[in-house]
Symmetry: C2
Subunit: 298 residues, 2 copies
DNA sequence: TAGAAACCATCGTTTTTTTCGATATAATAA
DNA sequence: TTATTATATCGAAAAAAACGATGGTTTCTA
């Protein structure tokens, strides 16, 4: 049982088959069989049930997977070590929400991977409420989010910029809203747990505004398209809809939210965990990057 | 970089030399060199400084060691997994104080390793106050201690028996004590942090008894020998001095401590960590073993 | 229900990696 | 200086890993 066996094991679980794992890893299919046989022999039991043409983890396999996750995670950390004066390398796992990934981190990723070609960037996409726990379990190394200020004694938090949030609809829709006064019929928004939705609902509730069942869209692009096609209204960082506003497809309404200045783009990472040189370089570059300056700098 | 490289790396640190590591692991010395070269090549830097004929960890090496400890620990956990109906195997790491190891666990170890020859038992010797944290870090799987009842919501604690604590001195010494009333001149005891010393000092302080600087002895045998040679008095579980009392070398004085029935032999392990079948078998055997029954059973 | 397709296991062969042992080289210690 | 105690190097031998062709099942599909 060496590390390569565990990598194969994990890949089989991800892909769901020996064959796909072999393609993904660049091995012959027979090699995959051999890898798993080695594990099963060492452990004295099967880790997969071969039911017909599908495979399922056995109880032993599930126990093994937990440990393998730990082991491979540590192995990644080892690979990310690099000697003094060496080029950073290895892997950094970044947790973000879609909007930040697209509109703020894009240029950063490009600059970083140009300067540090030996570092692999893995993006983990999830809502903020799901991301923070991942920092504690070590599932991600660093997170980028748009929300009110993060308060946690265990995290290093750095504010990257303020974020202008706007209420967005088609020109048509906005007129209707004026007619119906405070009656908003449909909110298009990202999935539950997504930052913008939570902030928006909080705002509406505080204003006592009623709203019908909101429509859930899974991606930022889907949200925008839904709004453009007149299905409702939404609430997003201004930067994500600037091109649509310019094109006249959408109209932004800067509502008085009462917390305009409190919505921040922030990055956070764990205080006590080891910071690889690759991660440190990324943090430094993110701090320095003037993609979106704070008001103080402007 | 495979697991064998990391095992070699760790062994070199333990033994302090490539050559001794090769002997310990059953490799040729040149193989050890190759293992380390593989790591150094992958990491892009040296992990050992070769200063003359001695080797020292570099900064990179120290960083690596931390991760390797984690990795090998997880690897041990994987090796300890075994399929349904399989013989338990792998490694269990038991933290104890010397007295328990010698007087209570001896027969248990023997019975266990007869029944489960494929399980390696690693004994970690430390004082109770050092042992409990090791349960949380996972440095040990289970601890056996003699102390007042452990209270921790994160641990499963099981009482194995009550322990009779006695005050022990040579016959001579005890007479002197009677003459000098409550004046006790020297306490021989185990190192600071050791259970018995803490309990004893607590008792003496509560009684307002004065005592001079106590002598610190590192092992149970050393404590006993010191007392036998008239250097002072001590405080130990009765079972550890029974043979000396029979031989007339020592006299036990069952002081009224006020908490005679509160000193317990206990085992404790972490509630949430995975319990391998090897560890489960050990826990079961320890529970069942009638080496020292509780009063209820007697 | 026959045939094709998808999938994992087996096995002999080839390729790669690991290990070894002999020897070289360097730094103490006597 | 010389003996001793280290690690490094290198070619050969041994072991292990990977491959590819093949075979046996199960599961679609026509």
């Amino acid at each position: 049982m060496e590390i390569r066996n565990f990598i194969t094991f994990k890949k089989i679980i991800e892909t769901g088959s020996f064959t796909r794992a072999s393609e993904s890893l660049g091995y012959a299919q027979s090699t995959i069989t051999a890898h798993i046989q080695a594990i099963e022999e060492a452990l004295g039991g099967q880790v997969f049930d071969r039911i017909g043409r599908q495979i399922i983890l056995t109880e032993l396999g599930r126990q093994l997977e937990k440990q393998v996750d730990r082991l491979l995670h540590t192995y990644q950390a080892i690979e990310s070590l690099s000697g003094y004066g060496q080029m950073p390398k290895g892997t950094i796992r970044i947790g973000t929400e879609e909007s930040i990934a697209l509109y703020m981190l894009g240029p950063l990723f490009k600059a970083y991977s140009t300067q540090y070609p030996d570092v692999e960037i893995v993006l983990i996409n999830a809502a903020y409420r799901e991301l923070e726990p991942k920092l504690y379990t070590g599932e991600v190394d660093i997170i980028f989010i748009i929300d009110k200020a993060i308060e946690s004694p265990e995290l290093n938090v750095q504010v990257l910029s303020q974020v202008d949030m706007v209420f967005v609809a088609t020109p048509d829709y906005l007129q209707k809203r004026d007619a119906q006064s405070e009656r908003i019929s449909r909110i298009i928004n990202t999935r539950k747990g997504g930052t913008f939705r939570d902030i928006f609902e909080e705002y509406l509730t505080s204003r006592g505004t009623k709203f019908e069942n909101s429509v859930e869209a899974w991606s930022l692009e889907l949200v925008k398209q839904s709004v453009i096609h007149g299905m409702g209204v939404t609430f997003l960082p201004k930067m994500t809809v600037e091109s649509e506003i310019q094109a006249g497809l959408l109209v932004a309404d800067s509502l008085s939210l009462g917390f305009e200045n409190e919505i921040l783009a922030q990055m956070a990472y764990h205080k006590d965990r080891y910071i690889s040189s690759a991660l440190q370089a990324f943090i430094d570059m993110a701090s320095d990057s003037a993609v979106y300056k704070t008001n103080e700098d402007a």
